[in-house]
């Protein structure tokens, strides 16, 4: 895989506030990259710098998909913070300006408006839109030129539950076309559902960088239950690769060491003649991992 974005020691200070501190990142083509962090952790500032609207204090970044920086931005669809459009112009006229700037996408105006569900209101002025509709228009603008790279900063802000689900589908859909997505959010569930990789920022510093699937598997837990829980418990305690064992509302919650999984445990229990009434895997949520990472970084 090829890198599409390299960030090298990017730093931004606003006076005494260190918004971003020596951030280095590399994003591969086709990754769906989540940028996580509490409010004020530097997510938007970072995205602003790689989009040339925030001037870095030091450090550099490079887009590897085009020559000059403004040329590479034409091949990026981006939403940064609140939707920004000409309030007196309709959706169609606003998108015409975007297409003219990007030198691409004029023929896509109607399809993208249909895609985000704004087609019925396409000739109404932007100022008459609700927050959710404004956000949808931002997404339409980002998709307009069919860009290989998308940067989405809190794209589901202001949307209703149905809208959130639609946008999440849309993102998954786009990701499955092999596009690269950089996705900033503080809604972890969202990142867990759509991202392949994630990085965690805290007070402008990178505290974690990794693969979503790996993290989830690392913290995988197994639930088991049988008619005689006490007997089950004592037998499970004898399993070699056991890391921890808890009793939780009539079930045993088991965590195994890396390298062994539920199949190994089940075989062991069958050998011991145990019949289970319940067996399931419980992937830990990114939320737990995220909170752990933040907590660890405090120490």
């Amino acid at each position: 895989m090829n890198s599409i974005l390299k960030i090298n020691n990017l730093t931004k200070h606003y006076g005494k506030i260190k918004a971003v501190e020596n951030l280095s990142l590399e994003v591969q083509e086709g990754n769906v990259y989540g940028i996580l962090g509490p409010n004020g952790s530097g997510k938007t500032t970072t995205l602003g710098m790689i989009l040339d609207v925030v001037k870095p204090t030091s450090g550099e970044y490079s887009w590897l998909n085009a020559g000059s920086k403004s040329q590479s931005r034409k091949k990026i669809g981006a939403i940064l913070e609140t939707p920004a459009f000409y309030p007196y112009l309709s959706a169609v006229r606003n998108l015409k300006i975007v297409a003219k700037i990007k030198e691409n996408g004029a023929e896509n105006i109607e399809p993208v408006l249909k895609q985000v569900g704004l087609f019925d209101r396409k000739d109404d002025a932007f100022k008459t839109y609700s927050l959710g509709m404004k956000q949808r228009l931002s997404i339409a603008a980002a998709l307009l030129a069919d860009p290989p790279v998308l940067i989405l900063d809190e794209p589901t802000n202001g949307l209703d539950p149905q809208g959130i689900a639609e946008i999440r589908e849309l993102i998954k859909n786009i990701a499955s076309q092999g596009k690269t997505i950089l996705f900033a959010s503080h809604i972890l569930d969202e990142v867990q559902k759509v991202c392949t990789h994630f990085t965690v920022l805290k007070s402008g510093k990178k505290v974690y960088d990794g693969n979503v699937e790996e993290v989830m598997n690392q913290n995988k837990k197994i639930e088991v239950a049988s008619e005689n829980l006490e007997e089950l418990k004592s037998i499970v305690s004898g399993f070699g690769d056991l890391e921890s064992l808890e009793n939780e509302s009539g079930k045993l919650i088991i965590k195994l060491m890396n390298g062994s999984d539920s199949i190994d445990l089940h075989k062991y229990l069958i050998d011991k003649g145990i019949v289970l009434s319940h067996l399931s895997e419980r992937k830990s949520s990114l939320e737990q991992k995220f909170l752990n990472i933040l907590k660890e970084s405090d120490d």
């Binding site: 609207v53 925030v54 001037k55 940064l80 007196y88 112009l89 300006i97 003219k100 700037i101 030198e103």
Partner: protein
């Protein structure tokens, strides 16, 4: 280049405030340029006489004097055009569309060029309109005819164009610097009509202020613009006037034009948008 021009046009063509200001400018200019004779009639009816001369026989619209007269009078209307530039630029900041334009792939230099395209277009339209206005009034009232007279002293039009371009560039710079339209409009208005004229008058005539700094006056931002086209009317009471555009005045204004736009570029490159 055409693309940048089109971008600016798409932003403005459905913006009602723009068309209203534009219409007000042309309306105001038309009224003032065409009412010279009515004004003289009015003065006469009030018993005015200019050193014994009947005001209604003043040849305000005679070719080629009409050119200096209309370009001089039109100077005061450039403030309306400046409002258009100020609103267009500060809107981009308050709507955050400047930021969005950059995110979408417009370079900051291209943004500067797009607003310069607006400035040049407005200045060109104003110049052409003024020429037509003067031509029509001249054809109606001029006692002097003939192409030879009609097409002499036309250098006042390029001078007027340069003056408007430079003034609008100043408005552009102030808009980028200050960002708030109301504040920029008041500041530009006060500076142009009150502050600088007040300073100049004091430097020239106040006996308590030494004259050692007087050399600076022709270089001041507004004074230098006003110097391009000098007051023509004293000639009607037989005083000497400068009835041409001086090269040195052009150079000073051109320098300001360059400085304003260069500063806009530097500020935009340095600043977060």
């Amino acid at each position: 280049m055409i693309r940048i021009f089109e971008i600016e046009w798409l932003k403005l063509k459905n913006y009602r405030v723009f068309w209203v200001l534009f219409a007000l400018y042309f309306l105001g200019l038309t009224i003032v340029c065409s009412s010279g004779m009515f004004l003289m009639e009015f003065l006469k009816s009030k018993g005015a006489d200019l050193n014994g001369v009947d005001p209604t026989i003043l040849p305000l619209y005679d070719f080629p004097d009409v050119w200096q007269n209309v370009t001089y009078v039109a100077t005061f209307f450039k403030l309306f055009l400046a409002f258009i530039v100020i609103i267009s630029v500060t809107n981009e900041i308050s709507y955050r569309t400047l930021r969005q334009n950059v995110i979408d792939g417009l370079s900051k230099k291209e943004f500067l060029i797009s607003k310069l395209a607006l400035i040049v277009s407005l200045s060109s339209l104003a110049t052409i309109f003024l020429f037509l206005q003067g031509l029509i009034m001249g054809l109606i009232y001029s006692k002097v005819g003939g192409l030879k007279y009609i097409f002499s002293s036309l250098e006042f039009f390029p001078a007027y164009f340069l003056e408007v371009c430079t003034f609008l560039s100043l408005a552009f710079l102030l808009s980028i610097l200050i960002k708030k339209s109301g504040f920029v409009i008041v500041l530009l208005f006060m500076y142009t009509l009150i502050f600088e004229p007040f300073v100049v008058v004091n430097m020239e005539h106040n006996p308590h202020i030494p004259n050692t700094m007087d050399w600076i006056i022709p270089y001041l931002p507004i004074k230098s613009l006003n110097n391009l086209i000098r007051v023509p009317f004293p000639k009607y009471v037989l005083m000497r006037i400068q009835d041409y555009v001086a090269l040195v005045d052009i150079l000073i204004v051109a320098a300001w034009l360059f400085i304003y736009n260069y500063l806009v570029l530097v500020i935009m490159q340095k600043r977060n948008v």
